[in-house]
């Protein structure tokens, strides 16, 4: 009965979404205020019903109801509870239901709490939101029903992909989805504002928290995904320019650009058309990302669902939404004034540079990811576009962007002069030059990109704190701290990337128990190899000790795991973290003479990459709190003033 109740709740939510859309569309057409009043409760009800449906699916997974096909395909009764829970969204149907649930909740949230936007714009936004949701409801109900029963009922399920059995990955997809959905809300706001021709500061202020929230989740999702790939896949790399990674990077790039341009719109009432365009692009990128990953068009490590029917469905949705939004944009862009003007050397000028550079990088990642598909479709030739292309094409632009990032916050709005800027930024420039000088003198074999990156990162790390210079730290608004943290985080991550790519030491050995392996300052003692068994896997575990210089002796146990249910092998790398880097040990295959392949890396400062990512997200979080607080205070003041009148 649980499954049927879930399906009914899903149908009801879909019907409510249709009603929400109709109320909004008809209300706007005929200017009926009573329709406006009805749309809020409908949006809230839609959110509640779709959440109920998702909760019921979670329940089915938790109790391992093997009469439901989705549970059978993606779970097993012996699985640890956490993975039964995470298994709910570790598959196609569940993840789509999660998507539409978060969208429904976001709609309910807007209906309940959004008070500063003009009513007609709010109604148009909710109608647009319902229209997007409808596509996903149709997708779920027509071609991917998560509640489908199975008969006869099998004894047990088939388990989850072993690579997904990891706490990091259990929460990585929902994090990205929250980001995607946040961008869909921003998109709905943009559509709403275009429909009612209400593009201005108020609209930007209403949209900004959603962009910021989406961006925080995307940042966290990408950071977590990168760390997961690093330790779980056992290749020691943290970014592969894999199409699926690019699919998550593209919305982030667009969201980063949008975040900065929406700030210009909110504070200076400028860059209106450009902000609308970015909102459309950001949502398109999240749809394209979902399409690439979910359709199985890219056969890569992440693409678990290979099903052309579903792919075409998403593609049709994609064409409908993006095409529709672009058409609306083209129709309305003529009536949207660009807003207040500004000079080249100004805060706005730097933010325009940020937007253009991010857009070019985004376009390059997009082209590099899709070009092989295009060529294969047209000529049948297969070709690969990978790290050499992406690094060379986007690396220099990214460095330029980082330099702009250091200068931008030190510029005044509207107009400033270049000499004054040079004066303000002289210390970071000197630091960068000094670092570059030292690196050129004392290191060998660094690539130019890494060399410049490291030198620039040192200067930018200092420059990112400059906005706090000579300010009263206690009265500085929270969102300024947010910006400082986020920019500093980028510099920290850049240090990690440059160091990892330049100073990593690797050793491959075939070792017998008793052998010693030396890498950098580390001495590893290979002691023994032993079999082990976990809840749903067996493994070979090697016991080793590792010592850095004369330091403490650590026990490490890299493993090779076999998952019986899925016939898959994963290697569990052993990691030792020090303040100045990470030791990474992987156990490989054994040979007939009792020697084992062991791969050891010493990666100096590699952890800074993810630490930087977390700082960036933290900065976003501070900015979010600061903005929300400020918005709340202003509203209270306004209400108070109205009361006094």
């Amino acid at each position: 009965m649980i499954a049927e109740t879930g399906l009914i709740a899903l149908w009801l939510a879909a019907a409510l979404a249709l009603l929400q859309f109709a109320l909004g569309a008809i209300g706007l057409r005929m200017g009926r205020d009573d329709y406006y009043a009805a749309i809020r409760p409908v949006a809230v009800a839609q959110g509640l019903f779709v959440s109920l449906s998702f909760l019921l699916l979670i329940w089915l997974f938790l109790r391992s109801d093997m009469s439901v096909k989705l549970v059978v395909m993606n779970s097993a009764s012996v699985k640890p509870l956490l993975y039964k829970f995470a298994g709910t969204w570790g598959n196609h149907e569940g993840s789509m239901l999660l998507w539409v649930t978060v969208m429904g909740l976001a709609g309910a949230f807007i209906a309940l709490f959004e008070r500063s936007l003009r009513t007609s714009t709010l109604v148009a936004t909710l109608a647009a939101q319902a229209f997007i949701s409808l596509g996903f409801y149709a997708f779920l109900l027509v071609s991917s029903n998560p509640f489908e029963r199975m008969f006869p009922v099998p004894a047990d399920g088939q388990g989850l992909n072993p690579l997904l059995q990891d706490p990091g990955l259990a929460f990585h997809p929902p994090t990205l989805y929250f980001g995607y959905v946040g961008l869909s809300v921003a998109f709905s706001f943009a559509v709403g504002a275009m429909i009612t021709r209400d593009v201005g500061a108020a609209f930007a202020k209403a949209m900004r928290p959603w962009v910021l929230g989406a961006w925080i989740f995307l940042t966290l999702g990408i950071t977590a995904g990168s760390y997961w790939a690093y330790y779980e896949l056992g290749w020691g790399g943290w970014w592969f320019w894999d199409p699926v990674e690019n699919a998550s990077l593209m919305p982030w790039l667009a969201a980063t650009a949008l975040l900065h341009s929406v700030t210009v719109l909110a504070t200076r009432d400028s860059l209106r058309a450009w902000t609308l365009m970015l909102a459309v692009v950001a949502f398109s990128m999240s749809m394209i990302g979902t399409f690439l990953v979910r359709s199985g068009i890219l056969t890569s490590v992440h693409a678990f669902a290979v099903d052309p029917e579903r792919g075409s469905f998403i593609l049709a949705l994609l064409a409908l939404y993006i095409g529709g939004a672009m058409a609306l944009f083209a129709l309305r862009v003529g009536t949207v004034k660009e807003g207040k003007r500004f000079e080249l050397v100004s805060r706005e000028g730097a933010l325009v540079a940020n937007n253009l550079l991010l857009s070019v990088i985004l376009a390059l990642v997009f082209i590099g990811t899709l070009y092989p598909l295009l060529v294969e479709a047209v000529t049948g030739d297969k070709l690969s576009v990978g790290p050499p292309y992406f690094n060379l094409a986007t690396g220099p632009l990214a460095l330029l962007l980082v330099a702009v990032m250091a200068a931008g916050p030190l510029l005044r709005w509207r107009r400033d002069n270049a000499k004054a800027l040079l004066n303000r930024i002289s210390i970071p420039i000197l630091l960068t030059a000094a670092t570059l000088f030292v690196l050129v003198l004392f290191t060998t074999g660094m690539s130019i990109l890494a060399l410049l990156g490291l030198a620039l990162a040192v200067g930018v790390a200092i420059a990112s704190f400059a906005p706090l210079w000579k300010r009263n730290l206690r009265r500085t608004p929270l969102h300024i701290y947010g910006m400082v943290f986020a920019h500093f985080g980028i510099a920290v991550a850049l240090v990690g990337m440059a160091c990892e790519s330049s100073f990593t030491e690797e050793k491959l050995v075939a070792a017998k128990p008793g052998d010693e392996i030396v890498v950098n300052n580390w001495r590893l003692q290979f002691e023994a190899i032993e079999p082990m068994a976990g809840p749903n896997w067996t493994a070979l575990e090697s016991r080793m000790t590792a010592q850095y210089g004369d330091g403490v002796i650590h026990e490490i146990t890299p493993q090779n795991r076999m998952f019986a249910a899925a016939q898959t092998q994963t290697s569990e790398a052993a990691l030792l973290t020090r303040w100045n880097g990470q030791l990474y040990v992987v156990l490989g295959e054994g040979d007939s003479e009792g020697r084992w392949q062991i791969r050891v890396w010493w990666k100096p400062f590699v952890t800074l990459i993810w630490f930087g990512g977390i700082l960036v997200a933290l900065g976003g979080f501070l900015a979010m709190i600061g903005r929300l607080q400020r918005g709340y205070k202003q509203r209270k003041q306004r209400e108070y003033a109205e009361m006094m009148l």
Partner: protein, 138 residues
């Protein structure tokens, strides 16, 4: 008892090695003695696609074929070939699919390399028009 278990697990864990029936390639997982040559080989291996895997370089792959290719790359570099010679030899055998670095001179892939320049020019043009208009108004 433990030994038997280890042996059984090794047999389970190494089905890939058993499939080929051939001795593993000598330099698949053995580094070259000359650190400079090893670094050159390593850089090249990271830019070559493992043909049997999904989105993995041969440096990162456990597939036997990737091991063979690593061994060939190392042997050829050790024999004095430049990385680019090894790459073109592999492209001749397996096609452009094998290299993650699309060639500039190929009829199919050159648009990729001019894309950054065109996009950057377009961005500059977009920005320039905007600022000039402002000055004109003043």
């Amino acid at each position: 008892m433990k030994r038997v278990l280890v042996f059984l697990l090794v047999c389970l864990a190494a089905p890939a090695a058993a499939q080929t029936g051939l001795p593993p390639a000598p330099y698949a997982d053995r580094q070259l003695d000359d650190p400079q040559q090893e670094a050159a080989a390593r850089d090249l291996m990271e830019e070559l696609r493992c043909l049997k895997c999904q989105s993995q370089s041969i440096a990162d792959s456990n597939a036997p074929m990737a091991g063979d290719m690593r061994s060939q790359v190392r042997e050829r570099i050790a024999a004095g070939e430049t990385p680019e010679e090894v790459r073109s030899w592999l492209i001749e055998r397996y096609g452009n699919w094998v290299s993650y670095d699309p060639p500039i001179s190929s009829a199919v892939t050159w648009p990729l390399w001019i894309a950054p320049i065109i996009l950057l020019l377009a961005a500059l043009w977009l920005a320039r028009g905007r600022f000039r208009k402002y000055r004109g108004e003043q």
